[in-house]
């Protein structure tokens, strides 16, 4: 369906658009961000200005960005998709050459007023381009192998660039998000079964070959995999962080140790306590009740997005909303799994809560597109 087909009458116009915003979603996002401010205030030891204040300011900007994006018709965003994707690829290349090194990897470009992480932007622009592609692609070609090559290229190009930084976490998120888009667009089951089967077979082969004559990897590579999969085998390195993180979570109990009373975070037993591990502080200070509430907020965001996606007949709107929801889900699912010791430690922040500018702004912009899809839905 092209924008020409939209019935202009069916779409709200002017300031009336504000009434058609997905208000529950706005409220949910504000609540999650509020939890973030509270926790950033706590991990700074009761100081507002260290992390909470800049974060709140950025959220304010983000909220504005979301509102503006919501007012812009969804077809504009669809038509912008290719350009946006191209821009993020250019930025990724720029990081490759001029990027600043942080945490041992090149991740951001210093724009003066903010540090831009092109990989964050790419997650969204990739979803947009894939949505636009499948919006354009006739139904009978969706599962055609030749027409699957293009979306694979769209996914793998930024993935390769991100891997070079190296940022394994984001690369995995890109692959998972892109794969999800293909699934949602209706690509045949057999492809996914095939990819998963081959992948599983390859992993099995690599592990089976260990210690045999046809060993596929070198010993040190296996050891590296061991520490990645089981941090406890390296108790002073990665394992230390996970152990401390689990202790913090567990010691929270039902209702937590009280606001600003978490000993694990206050006494610096937690690593990266204002960014990737901020969830542990929440769980320690507010217990199961607090941690589960945040999870519930996240799940509600997903539910509202899925509902909005199903409600629209516009294919681009539907796919881009689902894709952004999936990206958002991958963020918090990977982050929480990581801090609870269910997944290896990869640098993925907790969306809207972890301290960080570009991730927050990009996400708010993405939710602006979701809002735009919601507002400009033909009624």
């Amino acid at each position: 369906m092209s924008y020409l087909e939209y019935s202009v009458k069916a779409v709200p116009a002017g300031l009336r658009k504000v009434l058609y915003l997905n208000w529950p979603l706005v409220l949910l996002l504000c609540s999650v961000a509020g939890v973030g401010f509270l926790m950033l205030y706590s991990v700074a030891g009761g100081a507002f200005s260290v992390w909470a204040e800049p974060q709140a300011k950025r959220f304010g900007v983000g909220l504005g960005v979301m509102m503006i994006a919501a007012m812009i018709p969804i077809w504009f965003w669809r038509n912008l998709s290719f350009l946006a994707y191209g821009l993020s690829i250019v930025l990724l290349l720029a990081v490759e050459f001029f990027g600043a090194v942080g945490m041992g990897a090149q991740r951001w470009i210093d724009l003066g007023f903010m540090r831009l992480q092109p990989s964050e932007l790419t997650k969204i622009t990739m979803v947009m381009l894939l949505a636009a592609y499948y919006d354009w692609l006739p139904a009978k070609r969706v599962s055609n192998p030749v027409w699957i090559l293009f979306p694979l290229l769209i996914i793998l190009l930024p993935t390769a660039l991100v891997l070079r930084q190296p940022d394994l976490g984001t690369a995995l998120l890109l692959v998972a998000g892109g794969g999800g888009m293909l699934f949602l667009a209706g690509v045949h089951w057999a492809y996914f079964a095939g990819v998963i089967g081959v992948g599983a077979g390859l992993v099995t082969a690599v592990f089976q070959s260990r210690g045999t004559t046809w060993q596929l990897l070198a010993d040190y590579q296996y050891r590296r995999i061991d520490t990645f999969l089981d941090p406890a085998s390296d108790p002073l390195g990665a394992g230390y962080h996970i152990t401390q993180s689990k202790i913090a979570l567990g010691s929270g109990g039902w209702t937590g140790r009280g606001f600003m009373q978490g000993t694990q975070s206050r006494l610096n037993f937690l690593p990266e306590k204002h960014t990737d591990f901020i969830f542990t502080t929440l769980a320690e200070e507010f217990g199961f009740v607090g941690a589960f509430s945040l999870l519930a907020l996240y799940v509600l965001i997903i539910v509202f997005c899925v509902a909005s996606a199903i409600a629209t007949r516009d294919r681009f709107s539907s796919l881009v909303t689902l894709g952004i929801a999936l990206t958002f889900f991958l963020y918090f699912a990977v982050n929480m799994s990581m801090v609870m010791g269910l997944a290896p430690v990869v640098g993925v922040p907790l969306p809207m809560v972890s301290y960080g500018g570009s991730a927050m702004l990009v996400l708010m912009g993405a939710f602006g597109i979701v809002q735009s899809a919601h507002v400009h839905r033909p009624r």
């Binding site: 369906m1 092209s2 354009w136 006739p138 139904a139 969706v142 999800g180 699934f183 949602l184 667009a185 209706g186 401390q244 689990k246 202790i247 913090a248 979570l249 567990g250 010691s251 929270g252 109990g253 039902w254 000993t263 694990q264 006494l267 610096n268 037993f269 769980a283 217990g287 199961f288 941690a291 589960f292 999870l295 996240y298 799940v299 997903i302 539910v303 899925v306 996606a309 199903i310 007949r313 294919r315 539907s318 796919l319 689902l322 929801a325 999936l326 889900f329 699912a333 929480m336 799994s337 609870m340 269910l342």
Partner: protein
């Protein structure tokens, strides 16, 4: 591109189906996350709460102040004095070698201390302080403080150090403390956690070691909150420990100091005991060493010079040195014979200068012999033949039993290191220990305190006190613990015939006061303080027949270690005994010349409580005694001045 509505509807249905599927999967995964949360936060909460507490709470021991040691009049023997040490936190120092270099330019660092500190640094985490120098002067401390900006991580800390203000005088009695060693820890079944504190000081020798449990006290503890790097954030609570109990010794520091000075640099020892209470007023051993050297760890060179000295300054000879008691044993032989009813005091034995026993000739110290001697003469002139004769008649078993009743061959309960048991053997001893028969010649040798009989100066003092009082007085070294008086050890009556004791005492009186007594030269002429004593000269070598024929080599012509031991025991005043004294001068020659004068001076010092008046001495000795008194006085004053300067 136009599409037909059916195609679009099909795509919408498919995408919606898959959206619900994927959305469902997402919610399901969120359910897994929630389940994991419940698992960690609800089911395992207690376990993790405990781990979190373990993380943040450290228990630090608070070492108790060690009990102090005083003499019987309250003079300090061992005390804790605040001392400064320089410590360094390697983490705060950053560039450790550079900071050390700068520090070395400011204050003197002992290379051994420094090496120890560097070793500690390698072993412990970087935030734990390491001691670089101990007992640092106030000037050095202020120099470090002034230069603090150039010395990151270096600070001066005040702590308690053991100080022995009396210096060497109590080195053997009080002993010394030192840092606990791995060896000390291995000796203990369940060591006090205090001992795990690096460089915690425990008693190593003497009273410090034997009374360790009393002196140490009980550790307190504080719980502190630490952060991830182990830095202390705040104190949560503390339980106070209990300081060690103070000890008061029976020793009189003044007398002890005099006795040490009087023994001088000879290899000698002396014991002064209160006859009636058993209190040890002085237990001296020379040469001495400075226990303060050991407190902070003695240097290898200093230690080597102490262990290489043939006079063995580290040994506490008064309790651990055992010697053939020589003629001082003759009172025991006599008592055994008297009590057995085999001799009467008036019975005489003919001494031709030797005695034949189973084909061997046993000599009297006087080649010409003493002629007919009764008990009193035999003691007075120390006639050996008399005692050979009565000993052979009474037998070794009775002599041995009598020796033990008088405190020989038994270990006395005195809290000093390596208190010797000595030896008062009976006939079974030799077959049991040496696998040889006890010969009658062994009895004859034992009768005059030679052969197998061995006694420490402490035991000889106990023997003398028991002879003087007729009670089994036992030595007491600890007068009170934490202000609570320990019982005196006057003992029960020894249950021997009082007349026999009187005979022995009369003989001993004659030794010191009769013109022909062996210790007449070292008599006291003050009537109220007359001595009753006994000389002893014990051989440490065999004199061959050939040597006897050509004339026994004089002690002065022998190398030091082959000369005779000189011994003297006495009690005084003879009429109403107050003190028992035993003096042993190792390889000193004759008891009457080497030991008796020392014993007499010590006894008078104890009786007068100060430098005795010259009128107590025989007129012809007075000028010599006066010179000696002045010399000792000067020496002691010099030393006291040095001690107080150091303090």
């Amino acid at each position: 591109m136009r599409r037909n509505p059916r195609e679009l509807y099909g795509l919408w249905r498919k995408t919606s189906r898959r959206a619900l599927l994927l959305g469902g999967a997402q919610v399901a995964f969120a359910g897994v996350l929630g389940w994991r949360m419940a698992n960690l936060q609800v089911e395992q909460a207690d376990e993790f709460r405990l781990l979190a507490e373990e993380n943040r709470i450290n228990i630090r021991l608070l070492p108790p102040a060690r009990g102090e040691i005083f003499d019987r009049n309250g003079a300090v023997i061992a005390e804790n004095s605040p001392s400064y040490r320089i410590i360094m936190v390697p983490e705060d120092a950053g560039d450790v070698p550079a900071v050390l270099n700068r520090l070395r330019q400011l204050v003197h660092l002992d290379p051994e201390d420094l090496e120890r500190g560097l070793q500690e640094m390698r072993r412990s985490p970087p935030f734990l302080p390491v001691t670089l120098a101990e007992q640092v002067s106030w000037e050095d401390v202020s120099r470090v403080s002034v230069n603090a900006p150039a010395l990151p991580g270096v600070t001066a800390e005040v702590g308690l150090t053991r100080i022995y203000p009396q210096g060497p005088d109590f080195a053997h009695v009080a002993g010394y403390v030192g840092p606990v060693s791995d060896y000390d820890l291995n000796q203990l079944q369940d060591p006090d956690p205090l001992l795990r504190i690096p460089r915690f000081q425990i008693g190593k020798v003497g009273v410090e070691s034997k009374m360790e449990a009393t002196l140490r006290g009980k550790a307190g503890a504080k719980r502190v909150e630490v952060n991830a790097t182990g830095r202390v954030m705040r104190e949560l609570d503390r339980t106070e420990g209990r300081s060690g109990a103070d000890l008061q010794l029976t020793v009189d520091a003044d007398l002890q100091s005099y006795v040490q000075a009087r023994l001088g640099t000879d290899s000698a020892s002396a014991v002064v005991m209160d006859c009636n209470s058993g209190d040890l007023l002085a237990i001296a051993s020379s040469p001495v060493f400075d226990p303060n050297l050991f407190v902070r760890g003695i240097s290898v060179a200093d230690y080597r010079s102490l262990t290489d000295d043939p006079f063995r300054p580290l040994a506490s000879k008064s309790v651990q040195g055992i010697y053939p008691p020589g003629s001082t044993f003759k009172m025991i032989t006599a008592m055994a014979a008297l009590e057995a009813g085999l001799i009467t005091p008036d019975e005489t034995v003919y001494c031709p200068g030797h005695m034949e026993l189973s084909g061997r000739r046993f000599h009297c110290w006087r080649r010409g012999g003493h002629g007919h001697v009764d008990l009193q003469n035999a003691l007075k002139q120390s006639c050996d033949v008399y005692f050979y004769d009565i000993a052979v008649r009474v037998g070794m078993d009775k002599i041995s039993a009598m020796a033990q009743r008088f405190g020989l061959g038994i270990r006395h309960d005195v809290p000093m290191s390596a208190v010797a048991r000595g030896l008062a053997p009976n006939r079974d001893w030799k077959p049991r220990v040496r696998g040889e028969d006890w010969l009658v010649g062994d009895t004859a040798n034992a009768a005059i305190g030679q052969g197998f009989v061995l006694a420490s100066p402490l035991q000889l003092a106990v023997m003398t006190a028991r002879l003087a009082t007729g009670r089994s007085v036992s030595p007491r070294l600890i007068k009170s613990v934490d202000g609570i008086e320990e019982p005196e050890r006057a003992g029960q009556t020894i249950d021997v015939n009082e007349n026999h004791l009187r005979m022995i005492r009369r003989g001993m009186y004659a030794v010191s006061n009769d013109r022909r007594g062996t210790a007449y030269g070292s008599r006291v002429i003050a009537d109220e303080y007359r001595l009753a004593g006994k000389t002893g000269t014990s051989q440490v070598r065999n004199i061959t027949e050939a040597e006897r024929r050509s004339g026994v080599v004089r002690n002065e012509d022998l190398p030091w270690e082959r000369r005779d031991h000189a011994l003297f025991v006495n009690f005084a005043p003879a009429e109403a005994p107050r003190y028992a004294v035993a003096v042993v001068v190792e390889h000193g020659g004759g008891g009457s010349t080497a030991a008796a004068p020392i014993a007499r001076d010590i006894t008078l010092q104890a009786l007068y409580g100060d430098t005795p008046p010259l009128s107590a001495y025989p007129a012809k000795d007075r000028s010599r005694i006066e010179a000696q008194q002045e010399r000792l006085q000067r020496e002691r004053e010099d030393r006291n001045r040095r001690e107080s300067d150091r303090a």
